[in-house]
Symmetry: C2
Subunit: 332 residues, 2 copies
Amino acid sequence: MLLKTPYLLFLGDAADPLAAKVAQGVKDWRPDYCVGQFSQNGCNADMHIDELSIAQAVERGAKTLVVGVANRGGVISESWISVFEDALNAGLDIASGLHNLLIDEPRLKALSEQTGRALIDVRVPQHQYPIANGVKRTGKRCLAVGTDCSVGKMYTALALEKSLKKQGTSATFRATGQTGILITGNGVPLDAVVADFMAGSIEWLTPDNKADHWDLIEGQGSLFHASYSGVTLALIHGGAPDALILCHEPTREHMRGLPDYALPSLEQLRDTALNLAHVVNPDCKVIGISVNTAALSDDDAKVLLNDIEAKMGLPTVDPFRDSADRLAQALV
Amino acid sequence: MLLKTPYLLFLGDAADPLAAKVAQGVKDWRPDYCVGQFSQNGCNADMHIDELSIAQAVERGAKTLVVGVANRGGVISESWISVFEDALNAGLDIASGLHNLLIDEPRLKALSEQTGRALIDVRVPQHQYPIANGVKRTGKRCLAVGTDCSVGKMYTALALEKSLKKQGTSATFRATGQTGILITGNGVPLDAVVADFMAGSIEWLTPDNKADHWDLIEGQGSLFHASYSGVTLALIHGGAPDALILCHEPTREHMRGLPDYALPSLEQLRDTALNLAHVVNPDCKVIGISVNTAALSDDDAKVLLNDIEAKMGLPTVDPFRDSADRLAQALV
């Protein structure tokens, strides 16, 4: 594990619940990792778990203060830093996915060295990854691929992990981005890995396993997104998935950040991703579709999901509205 | 330009001509960059240009000592370091593509700071690249893509630059690996770029240009190589090529370094690369095929090239045996 559990969730002075979405993710997906939360004046987010002082959290066994909130204005404020100093002094590590790195704060860096506690910036690779060797591993792997970035790939993989475990199948979510790493305490910050080692980092993340175990690999980018497609292909070839899930957001008018680029169809995504996956795993199949219907009414969502299911001939769900149970059934 | 020209080519104590292949590349493709060569005792390579002392090279205008030789045993030897010190003291920069970095040698680092001369390790990105924006640029771009790694993509692009210039077309080879960077004095060491910035580094390398200008982008890896395919896709989407050239080595028994992986067919490479290129440039075409027939006799090579040309319906050449003239004609 990259991070020691359990956590104290730092909410700081979160302007609104969205600013604390990392904390919300930990609370939703790993409630047993959370001994409590730490809020400051002006905090407008609440995980509805115990509000604890640093000392109380340590008493309850907390090992890491997880920064569950986005900072404002691109700096780590003085009020945060003094809490982080208290945490280090009390024996906690600190983990953060902020753009501003903890290790770039001289006071924190010095205190970390002095106390022997770790500052873990999960955006920064913490490991020297190998170059991929393409060797077939035991165990099963499923990867979420998207028509675009930010269409629900992480959520889908986490929901699938939950559904598989519920039905008694051994499964592990494998994080490839900072939020996923903070939620699960482990993973690879793939977008920060040096090009030559991308696929190797995913092989490293999803090693040999029991024959009936499923790794649920968090997707990144999109094969159709000009800025990040190389990252996606490294995930496909490093992950060597047995199963793909297509992820889609139906109201997106163009590729995220690229106004001149239309989204591909689900058929294009299916054919392109499968063709490339077959290079490393000829048995790979597309087993289902996950649609983020947050922008639609219940009725409209139902119609859309039914339409896509009929057209594509694959189980199609919104794992947030429903669950990923039908995808989990399709996997096993 | 990353490197100042002209160069003094450092051959050191090259064990054989192959050890000096970087120097040979500079001599072959940029003879006007070379004021002379510097050999040491035991050197078994010769570029057949003037043998010069450091002082003579400076007199002839040399600006950079280019390490044109691979080192032995994974260390930069004492005898090399003392030459490099002389070069820095005489006012030369030093450029190297060695795995062992010049800046990691304390004596060189100190002397570089003292003299104000640069140590340029071309394996290390020397620029903060942007994230790709996918915006259409003016001018034309051609990318070499391979059935495997090391099948002649750099050679093909350099030969194509030469053929285009010969026929009066404005053209620039764009290096994406260390040898190409040393040869041309500029480029992006793509395999060392952080994942998020790969495609952006290629957009940066191939900016807006005159409508009839061709950038010849050096290919890397292969879409079918599990270790490096992500790098290749970033090249395709960052380069947004108008033309692709398929590169192949016909005697390869498996993908380089991956004994369990067969090479794709030229048809598979054509279809997969074109499908992905069309995401960013719907007008992209495959315009020809470059085959490295070094392992074949003249007669066998001729038969093979004719067979491939007939089967694929595309101009097919070995640019080393013949030239890239037919590919250049197909481009314009």
